[in-house]
Every structure is written in structure tokens, then in C-alpha cells.
């Protein structure tokens, strides 16, 4: 997927990939991150 120029809502998961990690990845691919959150489901 081409992320450059896209706007992203990053919802991470504690036991998987957290929000901050998603943010770092998509930013490095040129996306603009509008919202970041990490959820915990237990």
C-alpha cells in the first residue's frame, strides 16, 4: 500500500503492535498520523 500523503488513524494493541510503533512506521513511509491510541483487551 502507498502511504505517502495518506492520513492515518493508528489503533494499536498492547499484545500485538502498539500505537506508537504503528505511528513510527507509517510516518517513515510518508503518512500523516492524525490519531494514535493503544488498546488493551484484557
Amino acid at each position: 500500500m502507498e502511504l505517502k500523503g495518506k492520513r492515518v488513524l493508528a489503533i494499536g494493541e498492547r499484545d500485538g503492535v502498539n500505537g506508537a510503533a504503528i505511528e513510527a512506521c507509517v510516518k517513515s513511509a510518508g503518512a500523516e498520523v492524525l490519531y494514535v491510541e493503544t488498546q488493551c483487551f484484557v
Binding site: R14, D15, N18, G19, C40, F41, V42
Partner: protein
């Protein structure tokens, strides 16, 4: 002096289908769509089904968690009808008993209960030696119509047993959001299950120790007791100690999300190691907010709502506890601010940290207790098998470090991991629920060493984006 000894551990459960509606998720949904209560009611389990449920039997210590590997899934379709509600580590009490405990623990006189429920509670709790007949007889039943009037006034919420309203929980203030009836019910449920666990702990050491022999109590629950000027002000530890009869003790709380109770254990051990006290109890009551957390998925998949139990744990640590299992305070694994929040970073700190301090390899630890959530609860909602995910990460990191071969992760999990069996009561599921099993095995000479690790989702409180965690080794 060696490290402090874990001399007794209690694990208790309370089956509370009538309180599922007050769990955070059901409560929010029912406010929007009251008709959902029909779905919830149709999928609630009977007490007999909760007792016969394998994971609950594992929690109570009547079977080892590993035994669940031999039971076909879904476990709720493989009940053991001969299983007792009395457990090796504590009992699974019924809803009337829990409601009676709420009344017993209600120092603020906000709970009303009908006579029949109090009588059933007394019969059960006295029979289990969890309450004295005199203290149950001293509880005054609600006057005729008082429960209905309290609920209709809007100042109280109803307490259900089956399809009947049998009691009520009143608010503590007319305008304080920290003292609403729902908040107070959550706090009182945590207190009552903590009292149940601590009373069970006392029953286990009866004859050797009495309530006056315990000097300090550290609570590691997840509720937030307080009023509008100090939400979460706390010290439910002292409140639990009072109603468990520990007249010479005082205490405090440790708060760190799901890692709270494990933090409490190492704090208690450190207080003993420092020479401050010779006996400290750790206690944690159940989380009402987490009842029915995944009920929508359970209803959608036509299965019982499995998040229908409150859990409680109590642990006694002593300076002169003989040859029992010891908390290796020299192996603490701590997630520091510099550690980073990736799962790899957390496991590096919490597993490899203690192993390095103890000079052990991965396979020299008999069992790893992580977040022991029952996968049957979490998988239908898409949250996966939490303990298995932890074990894969531990195994992978062990392979990277050369402790096991790269092809040896599954074998490592089979030999050193456990199936999840704990209800989704975060701070109790997070490793501490395995202390009783490990202590029993170490006393029996079948286990030498276990690692306990818990993680805390600090970011949920919006004060930081960090995670957290704590771990340590327990050794025979």
C-alpha cells in the same frame, strides 16, 4: 537470613451472574439499548456450570492448569459434574453468598438485602468457615418495601439474584461522581472478594497463626476508592484487613494496573527483607468492571458469558517461614522508562533480566507464569490466546539468545508454559494466580523455580504512552 518465604496462598472465586449487567461494557451498552438485557440473561451460566468449568477448577487448585490440555475445547462443553465448589486454595462461592458478603463488608450502611438472601448467605459462608454465625445474624434484613423504595427513588441500584431483586446499593453522596451507587458497588465487590481471600488465607494457617500475627497488608487490586477530592485515594488494603479481623495490622495499596498485585508481592517481600515486618499479607479483590467485558462476542457465538466470576487472591509472606518457596528479590525484572514499549523490549526486561541476575538459562526455570487469561474468553472477541502469545515471544527471544534451538519454541512452550485458565480479572490473571500452584509444587519437591511476570497498560490512563511490567523468580 534468606529471602522471604511464601507460606500460604488463597485463590477464591465468586459466581455473580446478577452483577454482569454492572460490568463496564454491559452497563454502557444497556444504557443505550436496554433490550440487550434479554440477550445477556439468556447466556448467563448457572452456578453448577461455573463450578463444573475446568478453568475455574484449575484456578481453585483442584486440578493443575496443565490438565486443561487434555480436556477438549470448548471447555464449557466439557463440564466435570463431580467437581466441588470447595477448592484446594479456596472456594467458588455462589451469588447469595457474595451478596451476603457485600452486606457484611458494608461499613457505610448503603446496602440493603432481603431476609431470604441473608439466610442463604449465612448458611453458605458459615458452612465454609468464611463467616461466623454471630456476625451474619447481626446483619439486619431490609424492612418490607425498603429495597423497592430505594431503587425507585433513584438513589440506589437494584441487586439481582436470578430474576429477583433481592437488595439495593445506594449512592454515597447526592452529587459526587466518585460515590455513585455503581462506583461504590465496584469498590465494595473488590473489598468483599478481598476479604473472602484473606479470610481463606487465615483459615489455611489456623492453628499456627492467628489474625493478630499479621502486621501489615498490601493490597494490589484495581478499583479506585475515594471521593470527589481524592478519586482513587485508596487504602482498601486496610479496609479489607479490618473486615478480615486483622486488628493489629495496618496497610496500604499498590497501584500499577494489571501489574499491581505482583508489585504488591515484591513490596511485601521487601518490607520483610528490610526487617520492618516479619509477616505481611498481600490481598487483591475482584474487578466488577471487567464482568461481561466480552459478552457481545460470547452472545454472538452462542456461548455462555464466561466473564461471570469475581476473583480474589491473598498471599502470606514471612521472614521465618521455614523451607518454603522464596521470593528472589535479587532477580527483580523491571520495565524502566528507557526500556521502550515494544513487546520485545518488555519481555527482554521481564524475562531475560531476572534470568541474567540469577545466572539461569531459559530452560532452567520450570514454569513461566505470565498473563494466564483463559483463551476461551478472549479468542471469540478476537483478542487471541494471551498466554500463548507471551510464551511465543519468550521462546523466540530465548532462541535469539541461544538458550533454545530456533526450532525449539513449541517444545519450550509445552515444557515450560501453561494453558490460560484465569478469568479476565486483569491484576489477578497476571501471573499471581499461579503462585498457589507453584508454592504447592515447590513444597512437594516437584518444582524448583518459576518466573512470575505481569504487565501493566499504563497508557490506558492517558497520563503516559508507556507500558509497564514487573517480574521475579520464586525458588524452592
Amino acid at each position: 537470613m534468606g529471602f522471604p518465604v511464601i507460606t500460604s496462598v488463597a485463590n477464591v472465586l465468586a459466581h455473580v451472574p446478577g452483577l454482569v449487567r454492572y460490568g463496564s461494557k454491559p452497563l454502557r451498552d444497556l444504557a443505550q439499548e436496554p433490550a440487550r438485557m434479554d440477550d445477556i440473561a439468556r447466556h448467563l451460566r448457572s452456578y453448577e456450570d461455573a463450578v463444573a468449568y475446568g478453568p475455574n477448577q484449575a484456578f481453585l487448585g483442584n486440578i493443575e492448569p496443565e490438565t486443561l490440555r487434555t480436556v477438549p475445547r470448548p471447555w464449557f462443553n466439557a463440564p466435570d459434574r463431580g467437581a466441588p465448589s470447595e477448592g484446594a486454595f479456596g472456594d467458588l462461592i455462589g451469588e447469595a453468598e457474595l451478596l451476603g458478603l457485600l452486606k457484611l463488608c458494608d461499613r457505610a450502611r448503603l446496602v440493603q438485602m432481603d431476609e431470604a438472601t441473608l439466610a442463604a448467605a449465612a448458611k453458605g459462608l458459615v458452612g465454609r468457615r468464611m463467616a461466623a454465625a454471630a456476625e451474619m445474624e447481626a446483619l439486619k434484613p431490609a424492612a418490607a418495601d425498603a429495597i423497592r423504595r430505594a431503587v425507585e427513588s433513584g438513589e440506589a441500584i437494584p441487586l439481582w439474584h436470578g430474576d429477583r431483586v433481592v437488595g439495593s446499593m445506594a449512592r454515597g453522596h447526592e452529587a459526587d461522581e466518585a460515590l455513585t451507587a455503581n462506583v461504590l458497588l465496584e469498590n465494595l465487590a473488590g473489598k468483599a472478594t478481598g476479604v473472602l481471600a484473606l479470610r481463606r488465607l487465615l483459615a489455611q494457617v489456623d492453628g499456627r497463626l492467628g489474625p493478630d500475627d499479621i502486621e501489615f497488608v498490601v493490597a494490589g487490586s484495581e478499583e479506585a476508592v475515594g471521593d470527589r477530592y481524592q478519586r482513587g485515594g485508596g487504602n482498601i488494603g486496610k479496609a479489607i484487613a479490618e473486615d478480615a479481623g486483622l486488628r493489629r495490622a495496618t496497610g496500604f495499596d499498590v497501584k500499577a494496573f494489571c501489574a499491581s498485585t505482583l508489585y504488591a508481592v515484591f513490596n511485601a517481600a521487601a518490607l520483610i527483607q528490610a526487617g520492618t515486618f516479619s509477616r505481611v499479607a498481600v490481598v487483591a479483590g475482584g474487578s466488577l468492571a471487567k464482568l461481561g467485558m466480552k459478552y457481545r462476542a460470547h452472545v454472538a457465538k452462542q456461548m455462555p458469558i464466561l466473564e461471570d466470576v469475581l476473583a480474589g487472591v491473598a498471599v502470606l509472606l514471612e521472614r521465618d517461614g521455614g523451607d518454603g518457596p522464596r521470593v528472589r528479590l535479587d532477580t527483580l525484572g523491571l520495565h524502566t522508562i528507557a526500556s521502550g514499549s515494544s513487546q520485545q523490549a518488555i519481555v527482554q526486561e521481564l524475562v531475560m533480566g531476572p534470568l541474567a541476575k540469577a545466572g539461569c538459562t531459559l530452560t532452567e526455570v520450570d514454569r513461566y507464569a505470565t498473563e494466564m487469561h483463559n483463551p476461551e474468553v478472549t479468542e471469540p472477541a478476537g483478542s487471541g490466546d494471551v498466554p500463548l502469545g507471551n510464551y511465543r515471544l519468550i521462546g523466540a527471544l530465548g532462541a535469539l539468545k541461544g538458550h533454545i534451538p530456533r526450532t525449539g519454541v513449541d517444545a519450550f512452550i509445552a515444557a515450560h508454559g501453561l494453558p490460560g485458565y484465569a478469568p479476565t480479572q486483569g491484576h489477578i490473571a497476571s501471573a499471581v494466580c499461579y503462585l498457589a500452584h507453584a508454592a504447592r509444587a515447590m513444597r512437594a519437591g516437584t518444582m524448583r523455580r518459576a518466573l512470575f511476570m505481569a504487565k501493566g497498560s499504563l497508557f490506558l490512563g492517558r497520563m503516559t504512552e508507556m507500558s509497564d511490567g514487573v517480574s521475579f523468580l520464586v525458588e524452592a
